[in-house]
Amino acid sequence: MYKYRAEITKGEEVRYISHLDYAGVIQRAICRAHLPAAYSEGFNPHMKMAFASALAMGVTSDKEYMDFEMARPLNAQEVMDRLNAHLPQGVRILRIKPVREFKNKKKHKSLMAEVDLADYELFMPLEGDWDKAVESVQEFNQLKEYVYHRVTPKKVRDIEIKQYIKDPVKISMSGDRLKLEMSIIITQTGTIKSSDILKILAEEFGLPINPVRALINRKAMYGEGKALIDLV
């Protein structure tokens, strides 16, 4: 089998589709492009495809990463061109590289195991005083620890979230919208969602915004400081 890694967008047009549906979009495009995809064995064969990290419904991304396999070796540029011709608006492949096996036969780690950091930008209307906004973000940034009481339909858990935030959260104005930037650490055992941090800022630190009005974009994903595609 021949493995490739792709850097791919999830744009405004497909913001509201789920991760599973996003994968379906790419699979159907592979079929339309008549690329010789590799399938798993078994009763219900599915295309061999893996993502670095699931993207939530409502979040766009400048750079998602996906590994997939072909039954025949094809030129990476050709795979990219053929796929791009069959992808819907908002989904674009930016780069594709073949995943070369190491000389010592050591296997590449899976994308999911490689990713350790993701950058996000969040845009929303400022619904109050700018100085107050700056102050709340600063207050949050200065804390060494912050325990978040996370309630999901499945379980309730207390987590210390500062361990997952790499640099101080940045605040600025972008046109007439407030912009927050954050780098979130992803470990094998856990991480935090950018939307959760936003909620904490609004509800616990008085950031004058309404989280439901925010548009979130994932800007980049890294492993060991490099873009995931540069690891292969």
Partner: protein, 618 residues
């Protein structure tokens, strides 16, 4: 252009229902088009997107360079609430234009219990729900689909209806519209409708006035305009190979009801089941050629990337070259991981073998429709299937490894007795026993799904009164008590819905008041069990002073004029009467597809003929 804010989209279920941009969606320039046509199905996106008829019309209309055609479905209740709150009018899924700004809004009417949604969508669009209240700024509201063989209960909400198959007539309507507009819209809305009414297959209800006798029964139609024909006949496509078919269906992002390619093998079914409106209203049988189907299959896989294809038709196993074609398709798509399925199976071993071939790996369930529990009643309804046929078919299926069988039945058919009801339980038990006989052990599941019979216009049973709700429920209980085997599962329809359907199916124009009232009082998505509001409907009948039993339970006099006879699929009253008599005599009628013509009247009335590739060879 409507802009949906994240605040709305993040607060609702499945926002991708409303955000468009799907693969193959056609995005055109509004200003360059002379005709703007919105195609609607008054149900939620997943249902609307699964409708084959609309996919075809979308392709026909967008195939015209002068026409701009977009989709719209009923917003789910969560979205409706947000739209009303934010003052967002109903919009189209491609360009997000207001529906009100289109020239036409066409509704596909798939079943009666969706009528309230039509009114709701009109209101959301800011279009007056009553036809008489609309003016030059409103689109023409068009209806089509299976419900057009009795449009009377809803015709006060529509400007006109398209009867029958739409792919040719819809373009003729656009032609008339474009020239009428170019001429400066002479005569206003009426002027256009008068022109349209001259086309075959177009029914303009405002040109007809129903008459009632002193008992309050419908007594005939008075024609109010010289463009109005006494009887409007449906349109049929004569050559299925020549006509446009879907080649680039819109591929949704989210899972829909039929999330696969639909390859339509043929139209019509002439097996002649006497309860079945599809059987009379889609006549005659017209097949596509095997070559054309293979060509379409290739195009559809290439344009969608789907790996599942359903070979659809009213009774797909009747397609003359099915065995051969399936082999050809298998060969054409070798190594492409495309799977094929048949939506319905005939009760015979040919079908089982075919299903076996198609479901090599996963054997889900098999579905058969004996429709009635005893031979006597199956003869009444002209279901030419015997107990032996069924037992042979399931035997073959069990031998091939199937374990789950689903059997469809109807309850409340004319002449039905308790014996027929108990016959359903007995038949299911025989299927269970057959499994034991074949396998030497237990282990199959037989699901019997029993619907409540609704007499439909233009069927031999159109004169029969419908069984009252309490009686349906008594029979359901009786059946339940007679099912004693744990391998048998029993599903049945809500009789409350069926009796309402029964009234709307054979209603007349006076029911528009009731529909309006029910909608005003909150009826919508009545086809959805959780949202169905039975009392609202019965109260609406009461408020309007209309006795519902007039419409559903009353047995019509055989001589009585019926309020739907001026919008006809072409079957003659004489044929329906003959079939009615034969039903009571428990006599069968042959299928005209490959047997002799039973003179139903359709072919001469529509100047059409049966196209069956096997019949042609002989």
């Amino acid at each position: 252009m409507i802009k949906l804010t994240p605040e709305i989209l993040q607060a609702i279920e499945k926002p991708a229902r409303y955000t468009g941009h799907e693969w193959n969606a056609v995005e055109k320039n509004w200003d360059e088009a002379k005709c703007h046509f919105a195609l609607a199905l008054p149900d939620v996106y997943e249902v609307g997107m699964s409708n084959l008829g609309l996919k075809i019309l979308y392709e026909v209309l967008n195939g015209r360079s002068d026409t701009f055609c977009e989709r719209v479905y009923a917003p789910w209740i969560d979205m409706e609430e947000k739209m009303r709150e934010a003052g967002i009018p109903l919009f189209s899924l491609e360009s997000f234009n207001e529906i009100k700004s289109f020239d036409f809004l066409g509704f596909s009417l798939q079943y009666e219990m969706i009528y309230s949604n039509v009114l709701n969508m009109l209101e959301l669009a800011g279009i007056p729900v009553w036809t008489k209240d609309r003016d030059d700024n409103d689109p023409f509201i068009v209806g089509g689909g299976p419900c057009v063989y009795n449009t009377e209960p809803v015709c006060d909400f529509f400007d006109f209806f398209i009867l029958g198959e739409g792919e040719e007539i819809i373009s003729e309507v656009v032609d008339v519209f474009v020239s009428w507009r170019a001429a400066g819209s002479p005569g206003g809305r009426q002027g256009f409708l008068r022109e349209a009414a001259r086309l075959d297959g177009i029914y303009v209800p405002a040109f007809y006035e129903p008459q009632y006798d002193d008992r309050g029964l419908f007594s005939g139609m008075k024609l109010l305009d010289d463009a109005a024909k006494p009887v409007v006949y449906k349109r049929v496509i004569k050559d299925m190979d020549q006509v446009t078919f879907v080649e680039k269906p819109v591929v949704p992002y989210i899972d829909i009801v039929h999330d696969r390619i639909m390859l339509e093998l043929f139209r019509g079914c002439t097996r002649g089941c006497r309860f079945c409106q599809a059987g009379t209203s889609y006549r005659p049988v017209r097949e596509r050629s095997k070559e054309r189907l293979r060509e379409l299959a290739r195009k559809l896989v290439d344009s969608t990337g789907y790996n599942e294809m359903s070979l659809t038709s009213l009774s797909s196993a009747d397609y003359s070259c099915l065995g051969e074609m399936v082999d050809d398709l298998f060969a054409d798509f070798e190594g492409e991981k495309v799977s094929f399925s048949l939506p319905s199976l005939r009760i015979d071993s040919f079908s089982i073998d075919l299903a076996h071939k198609m479901q090599q790996v996963r054997k889900s369930g098999l579905t058969f429709a004996p429709e009635a529990g005893t031979q006597r009643l199956r003869d009444v309804i002209n279901k030419g299937v015997t107990e032996e046929n069924l037992l042979q078919a399931v035997e073959a299926a069990f031998k091939q490894g199937w374990k789950q069988v689903k059997l469809y039945f109807m309850m409340g058919l004319p002449t039905e007795t308790d014996e027929d009801i108990i016959g359903i339980a007995n038949l299911a038990k025989k299927v269970v026993d057959k499994y034991f006989e074949v396998k030497g052990r237990r282990g199959c599941t037989v699901t019997i799904s029993v619907s409540c019979f609704v007499p439909k216009p233009f069927t031999p049973f159109q004169w029969f009164g419908q069984v009252p709700r309490e009686e349906f429920e008594r029979r359901q209980k009786l059946l339940k008590e007679n099912i004693r085997d744990k391998s048998i599962k029993f599903n049945y329809h809500d009789a409350r819905v069926s009796v309402l359907e029964g009234s709307l199916a054979r209603g007349d124009r006076r029911l528009s008041k009731v529909i309006y009232q029910a909608w005003k009082d909150g009826a919508k998505f009545d086809g959805w069990t959780d949202l169905f509001k039975n009392e609202v409907w019965h109260e609406a009948y009461e408020k309007c002073g209309i006795d519902i039993t007039q419409y559903n339970e009353r047995t019509r006099d055989l001589e009585e004029p019926l309020p739907w006879e001026h919008t006809s699929p072409g079957v003659s009253r004489a044929f329906l009467r003959r079939e009615y008599d034969k039903a009571l005599q428990e006599c069968l009628t042959e299928d005209c597809r490959r047997g002799k013509c039973s003179a139903c009247g359709v072919c001469p009335a529509l100047d059409a003929k049966v196209v069956d590739w096997r019949a042609k060879d002989v």
